[in-house]
Subunit: 236 residues, 2 copies
């Protein structure tokens, strides 16, 4: 029982209208990747940081100063959850709760900010369809962002777009090693995959994609499944 995680190197800057599926398949042919990773295989999960997806989809905005950035954050936010100094924790139109409604000015040309993709599940689906058709494999795709969380310091990568794999794996009804039925053990497997992939991607290294090889996951879900409905949420 093992898996391998490979960072995809050699992906350069991504201009608007880039075909991300093509970009990654081509990158995998580069010698730096080809020897270690080789072509995509059935069951591989391709993990992509949302930033290159957003750029390819044109989800960037000019933002000359902090004031204009703030205005963009307010626009992207469906509601503001908390505000402290310059930090805004907001609920995005997708339902994600994160800093600055996902508006970010790192790893983007100076004078611009990157937004989240409009519909990251759809983006993941589109990329998966295109790769599966051109490469004749059956894969999963996860689009990630880096979120903070209450109670625990530090950020972790989570899934904001999913296609071709489950978002949650439900162990309820399965039995533990003592034959007792497990109660509530619904694992956010797509978030765990996002975090795992981040271990080889880093934040400043120009590695915006990774291949997770060795997972055997049945079913399919959406990152929308990971959004906890307000009525279930005790912390809002």
């Amino acid at each position: 029982m093992s898996l391998s995680i490979f960072g995809v190197q050699g992906i350069g800057e991504v201009p608007p209208h880039t075909d991300i599926a093509h970009l990654i398949v081509e990158a995998l042919l580069l010698p730096v990747n080809a020897d270690e990773i080789g072509p995509l295989r059935d069951h591989d999960v391709l993990v992509i940081t949302h930033k290159i997806v957003s750029k390819a989809e044109g989800a960037i905005r000019p933002s000359a100063d902090i004031e204009s950035r703030k205005a963009i954050v307010e626009e992207e936010a469906e509601s503001i959850i908390r505000r402290r100094g310059d930090l805004i924790v907001a609920r995005t139109q997708h339902g994600f709760i994160c800093a600055n409604a996902g508006v970010d000015n790192s790893n983007v040309e100076p004078g611009y900010v990157v937004l989240l993709p409009r519909d990251p599940d759809a983006s993941a689906h589109k990329i998966r369809m295109r790769i599966e058709r051109t490469s004749n494999v059956s894969i999963g795709v996860v689009i990630t962002d880096t979120f903070g969380r209450p109670w625990r310091r530090g950020l972790t990568d989570v899934a904001i777009g999913i296609s071709g794999l489950p978002s949650l794996v439900d162990y309820r009804g399965t039995v533990d090693t003592f034959g007792m039925e497990l109660e509530v053990t619904e694992i956010a497997v797509a978030d765990e995959i996002a975090s795992a992939a981040d271990l080889v991607m880093g934040k400043a290294d120009g590695v915006p994609a990774a291949v997770v090889r060795g997972m055997r996951l049945a079913g399919s879900g959406r990152a929308q499944d990971l959004v906890r409905p307000a009525q279930e949420d005790m912390f809002r």
Copy 2:
């Protein structure tokens, strides 16, 4: 840039006073593990679910019914954060905020519950020291538990004990691909490792440990570093 994650198989039930370091080193010699994983190497991170550590340390309690379990939860809780029906979200004496103050009745003999280890950072340190001395390698050790989180559905594994690797990696001051200084990008790398390892451990499969190979992390931290101080926390 790649890493491998191996589940350690063949670890049976863990009675009190078990030497966990010895148990794992012995398990790695089993044919089922030896071929794929081999002996531990420098920089390997050994990830262990807290449940076997708690059992080895005797952190289990008899609990015949829901009422006695509730009493144990109240005892383990330093404070109750939220209560809804039977669900208690509590702050443990370690500062972790989780369901039932970490008291769990899965994968334990019927009639008992498992608590969190008293000092999981110390447990991780002790296991690491013992393995490093007997096996002459320099490794990291992460002890994990499965926590829920606000806003997002599903549970993920997080680090509750750490030795020999950093808890957080701080990218502040490093520059992105455009030469811009990254702002607040402190990554909870030990939590990401815990989540990554869970992908090969499952919840019901009797795989309570994993080896993460290929990380090159400098520094050392404690899981205590991951506890967000109350005054920084906007969600309590």
